[in-house]
């Protein structure tokens, strides 16, 4: 792998993406992205997907019946 971040190919950059993203590094400042429209678009798409996913299936409470069933099952076994 090329250690020089400014001369990474797209394949090399993308091979490192999971680790770079997972590390919390601000990829906006990555030298490769400053000169690469394709990888910048890829990163923007992934960001859009992650943001959109957080809006899906809002966190909700289960209905009361779930606890009633749990409690009933526990009592039956005791």
């Amino acid at each position: 792998m090329n250690g020089d971040r400014s001369t990474l190919s797209c394949a090399e950059f993308q091979a490192q993406m999971a680790e770079l993203i997972g590390s919390g590094e601000d990829l906006a400042e990555h030298p490769h992205l400053k000169d690469c429209d394709g990888c910048r678009a890829l990163l923007a798409d992934l960001q859009t997907i992650a943001d959109a996913a957080r809006q899906l299936f809002p966190s909700v409470e289960p209905p009361d019946e779930v606890w009633e069933h749990i409690e009933s099952a526990i009592k039956q076994k005791q």
């Binding site: 993203i21 997972g22 919390g24 996913a53 966190s59 409470e61 779930v66």
Partner: protein, 224 residues
């Protein structure tokens, strides 16, 4: 470039998705066993105190139910899975030794319940090991093609729900745990018995897979 590069961190645990107000239970998700009040409740529940067990349910029901609902996408099934997860908790709670946070342990238990259900339904997923190692042919292509900026606009909610549901269960699980539930990679690694690097890698593959699916969808819709 967006100001907030992807992932740089998991969503805030205390933030309920969908713009809801944060629920108190979400706070407990971080390290339930580490908080004195919760530790006391846990100890009493382990000793067989039913009221304490009920309190644990109140503390954790939202997150466990949400996980189940996001994994199976069906309310009735999610209710059944939540019920089964807490019944298993009741049976096994005395075996919790505090090697990890209680919420991590409980999530692992719930994940196993969900994966068992998926297996019963005939989905190609047998174990957590398999969840973390999808078949090579299931992985996303490494050819990303030309830049496609179509995704930078709004993503249709229903389409996104469908492509997430179509992910292989292993990818879906890790995507939900990190991007929707807000767990950190070290917590996911603990839940799934994998390395932190593996968690990062699988999450990245899941996101790439979703991107491919959305791009395919966009291309199909653009056809005359």
């Amino acid at each position: 470039m967006a100001d907030s590069p992807i992932s740089t961190q998991a969503p805030q645990r205390t933030r309920a998705s969908g713009g809801e107000q944060a629920a108190p239970v979400a706070v407990a998700g971080k390290s339930a066993a580490a908080q004195p009040a919760d530790a006391d409740v846990l100890a009493r529940a382990q000793a067989g105190d039913h009221q304490a067990f009920a309190q644990l349910y109140i503390l954790h029901k939202r997150r466990i139910y949400s996980l189940c609902l996001r994994m199976v996408g069906n309310v009735a099934e999610a209710e059944d899975l939540t019920q089964e997860a807490f019944l298993q908790l009741h049976r096994k709670i005395a075996t919790f030794r505090g090697d990890s946070a209680f919420s991590t342990w409980l999530h692992r238990l719930a994940i196993n319940v969900v994966l068992m259900q998926l297996r019963k339904k005939g989905l190609s997923l047998i174990s957590l090991d398999e969840a973390m190692e999808p078949n090579p042919e299931e992985g996303p292509s490494r050819s990303f093609g030309a830049p496609d900026l179509a995704l930078t606009g709004a993503i249709d909610r229903l389409v996104l729900e469908r492509v997430i549901a179509d992910l292989p269960a292993g990818y879906r699980l890790i995507f939900i745990l990190h991007d929707m539930e807000g767990f950190e990679h070290n917590e996911i690694a603990s839940m799934l018995d994998c390395s932190i690097g593996n968690s990062k890698s699988q999450l990245h593959k899941a996101r790439l897979r979703l991107r491919e699916a959305l791009r395919t969808q966009n291309r199909q819709e653009a056809r005359p």
